[in-house]
């Protein structure tokens, strides 16, 4: 076997002959070429050398890690050896201390009892510590609640503030609350009065009056403060009614009944019997007054019949004489009354109208003027006294068309039309609805009718909403009937811009006519033509009506202005209807009433 150390190696010797001369591919100039990189191993070129490890090794905070072998789970109190030792020493010390005390006191104190007390004290301290921790947590929670509440309030303040415009004034917050309360109280009174009057004035048997005081068989309930107030209010209304009936007549029975009822109303301790008695007294007195008035009327009619009959040839001479005597007596009485009244005048008796007014002393003139123009309140007794008679004489001289009966009711009339009366409420509703007619008219376009989202559609919807609300409220408050409301709302419907506009104009006319009708009635109820009757239509409603009707200029006020010097209106002689004429104090024609 050959020696491996000496035997030639079995390798192929490299051919190095080419190194003597450069080869044909040798680059003789330029940069040195980059060395050729060795090829990677085949395994490295394959896309997946091994399957990726996708095991989820992230920490799940909700799951505690598994304890190591022989360990305790997470959360176990770490009671180490030292802690246990300390507890043992503490217990031993406590026991030894108790033993020592027991030996020293010969068993009087210490012992097991002391050990138990020590343990109880320790337990109590632990409980107190827990309570303190709980209180701290509660305080923190309370603070958090407060903080959250303040954040809520702040946000809500901004949200509430966003419900109104940036720039606001007082008018944006004027509520109808007060008005609603007035309406409500007025309604309550009306209801109470109606109930009382139905009960006491025979419109309904007492047993049928709901909640009536006079229900037979019903237990007599004590008068509650509320009930007393209501009944006293209704009794007060009945007094007003009776006072109106009393008027200028000298009915002592009715007058006494009124005085008695007033005393009952004024007395806060009046009993149920007092109230009922006063009401019944008023009822009786009113019925008596009615009977007397009817009787007098019959007598008067009979007298007239007799006078008429006196002209008939068939009547006896005695009848004729009687008729003549009565007529003469009546004439004399009237003349005498006129003469008496004339004698009471404080001004120049030969004058009348404005001239007479000028002849009065200044203070008297202003007083007379206040009555003549309806500014002074008049009741049935205003002119009952001699001084009142003199005042009436002056008023009738200065205002020949002065109507005392209208003057007595003028306050109520004015309240009815411009105050809290049903007509005033209606007028408000009509005015409000009319005020929105211009918007409705303007927005009754194609966009307004058929293009939701457009400004015109939105504006028209808003205006329609206002009108509907107003009509709805009026119906709800009982000032407008359902039919009337439906008529107004139905008349607003139109399918094309032209018909819609036409309908709006018609509705505006309807509303305007209603207001105008009230205005006429209102003016007719004035005690004299010198009274400045308030205009029922609002300027805005008037403007809206003018716009819809295409009137460029505002029409004349509904109450035609009287020409200078006019003291009243009158029909032509012998007529009771048709056009009227203005006249002065002397009866001179001052032109046609427009």
């Amino acid at each position: 076997m050959p020696d491996p150390m000496t035997a030639p190696l079995n390798v192929v010797a490299p051919d190095l002959s080419g190194m003597s001369q450069p080869g044909p591919n040798a680059i003789t100039s330029g940069p040195m070429p980059a060395p050729t990189a060795p090829a990677p191993p085949t395994e490295a070129l394959t896309p997946g050398m091994a399957a990726p490890d996708i095991t989820d090794r992230s920490i799940n905070p909700a799951v505690p890690p598994a304890p190591p072998k022989g360990g305790t789970p997470v959360g176990t109190p770490d009671v180490g050896g030292h802690t246990r030792l300390l507890a043992m020493i503490s217990g031993l010390a406590s026991g030894l201390g108790a033993l020592g005390t027991s030996i020293a006191t010969k068993g009087q104190r210490g012992g097991v009892q002391q050990v138990l007390e020590d343990q109880a004290r320790e337990q109590e301290m632990k409980i107190q510590a827990q309570q303190a921790a709980q209180a701290k947590t509660n305080a923190q929670l309370q603070n958090q609640l407060t903080t959250g509440e303040i954040a809520r309030l702040n946000t809500q303040n901004y949200i509430l503030g966003s419900t109104w415009h940036d720039e606001v004034d007082q008018s944006h917050f004027k509520t109808q609350e007060a008005q609603q309360n007035i309406k409500k109280s007025a309604l309550d009174i009306d209801t109470a009065v109606a109930g009382y009057q139905r009960e006491n004035f025979g419109l309904m048997p007492p047993s049928q009056v709901p909640g009536g005081l006079n229900v037979p068989g019903a237990a007599v309930a004590p008068v509650t403060p509320d009930g007393r107030a209501r009944v006293q209010t209704s009794l007060g209304s009945a007094i007003n009614l009776a006072t109106g009936v009393l008027g200028t007549t000298q009915d002592s029975t009715l007058s006494a009944a009124i005085d008695k009822a007033k005393a009952v109303v004024a007395n806060p301790n009046s009993s149920r019997a007092d109230i009922m008695g006063a009401g019944q007294g008023l009822t009786n007195a009113l019925q008596a007054n009615k009977a007397v008035t009817a009787s007098r009327k019959e007598q008067s009619e009979a007298s007239t019949a007799e006078t008429t009959a006196a002209n008939a040839p068939a009547k006896s001479a005695a009848d004729i004489a009687l008729a003549n005597a009565r007529t003469a007596a009546a004439k004399t009485s009237t003349e005498k009354t006129n003469e008496e009244l004339k004698s009471l005048r404080t001004g120049n008796s030969n004058l009348s109208g404005p001239d007479y007014l000028k002849s009065l002393p200044a203070s008297r003139a202003s007083n007379v003027q206040a009555f003549g123009e309806g500014r002074a309140q008049v009741n049935s007794r205003s002119f009952a006294t001699p001084a009142g008679q003199a005042l009436l004489s002056d008023i009738t001289a200065a205002y020949p068309d002065y109507d005392q009966s209208k003057a007595i009711t003028w306050d109520k009339t004015r309240n009815e039309y411009t105050g809290s009366g049903a007509t005033a409420k209606k007028a408000v509703s009509y005015n409000t609805a009319l005020e929105h007619m211009q918007d409705l008219y303007n927005n009754s376009t194609k966009e307004g009718l058929y293009l939701p989202g457009s400004k015109a559609y939105s504006d028209r919807s808003v205006a329609l909403g206002y009108v509907s609300n107003e009509v709805g409220n009026a119906i709800k408050n009982g000032v407008m009937s359902k039919d009337e409301g439906a008529q107004i709302l139905d008349s607003l419907k139109g399918w094309t811009p032209s018909t819609a506009k036409e309908r709006v104009a018609e509705t505006a006319r309807l509303l305007y006519d209603k207001i105008e009708e009230y205005q006429t009635k209102f003016a007719d109820a004035a005690p004299s033509s010198a009274v400045k009757v308030p205009t029922l239509i609002s300027p805005k409603a008037q403007a809206a009506y003018n716009f819809v009707e295409g009137i460029n200029q505002a029409p004349a006020a509904m109450t035609p202005a009287a020409p200078a010097g006019a003291t009243g209106k009158a029909y032509p002689k012998g007529q009771t209807s048709g056009p009227q004429y203005w006249h002065d104090a002397n009866g001179k024609n001052l032109g046609l009433v427009q």
Binding site: Y158, S162, Q170
Partner: protein, 236 residues
């Protein structure tokens, strides 16, 4: 008892404490204002608000924004570091902004751990922002005597209440608010903790805003909205 009532009731005790010589507590982080100005009565200045209101120039939201701005300024001046400042983004609605604030504030303790004050995007010169201050730190900070930013807060709330009075008159709500402000104004909230000093104006303005909203609803919609929000029992 609500938290707002707590805050208002706390004022009396705090204000009385402030009437005594100011005892600076160790945890007080409030830097004194540059120079304690003389106690001037600003009631005459803000009384003009009622005239403005009557003249139809009132901008309540602007004034409320000023109040919030003054509160945030007071907290800043007391050295309480803000936990959040979220400026209003142009074109962003209120709901979006509130949502953003809600998201962001969760990372700094949540809405119950921070006092939020917000200025209005249109009425604030800086474009409006919601600012949060840590409420616990505010509770530990006491308003010092003659502290100008606190006086500015009292002035802002007094002006706002006067403006509201100019619009609705001296209602019971206004009377109550004015009496609380008078109490605050006596000592310019010195001695109160910063949280109460910021919470009180917001809490006492809230019933007034409710009153305004209610009245405006009645004026604008005949009270329909209010009626819908009112429990049936109350309606009767």
């Amino acid at each position: 008892m609500t938290a707002s009532q707590d805050a208002i009731q706390a004022l009396a005790a705090k204000s009385q404490a402030a009437a005594a010589p100011a005892q600076q507590q160790p945890q007080q982080a409030a830097p004194q204002s540059a120079a304690p100005s003389d106690a001037q009565d600003d009631s005459t200045v803000s009384d003009n608000a009622a005239d403005e209101a009557a003249a139809g120039k009132t901008n309540l939201l602007k004034q409320y924004s000023k109040l919030n701005s003054a509160i945030a300024e007071m907290f800043d001046s007391l050295g309480v570091k803000r936990s959040l400042s979220m400026p209003h983004q142009k074109g962003q609605g209120m709901a979006e902004h509130i949502q953003d604030v809600g998201t962001a504030i969760a990372s700094v303790g949540g809405i119950t751990a921070n006092f939020l004050s917000a200025t209005h995007s249109q009425h604030d010169s800086k474009g409006g922002a919601t600012v949060a201050h840590p409420s616990e730190q505010l509770r530990q900070t006491i308003i010092p005597k003659n502290f100008e930013p606190a006086r500015a807060v009292v002035f802002a709330v007094r002006t706002l209440v006067n403006k509201i009075e100019g619009l609705v008159g001296e209602t019971p709500e206004v009377q109550k608010a004015k009496s609380v402000i008078a109490l605050l104004g006596k000592s310019d909230m010195a001695g109160m903790n910063a949280f109460d000093a910021g919470a009180a104006p917001i809490a006492l303005v809230h019933p007034l805003f409710q009153l305004l909203a209610r009245r405006h609803s009645v004026y604008k919609h005949g009270g329909k909205g209010h009626a819908m929000l009112t429990p049936p029992k109350v309606q009767q």
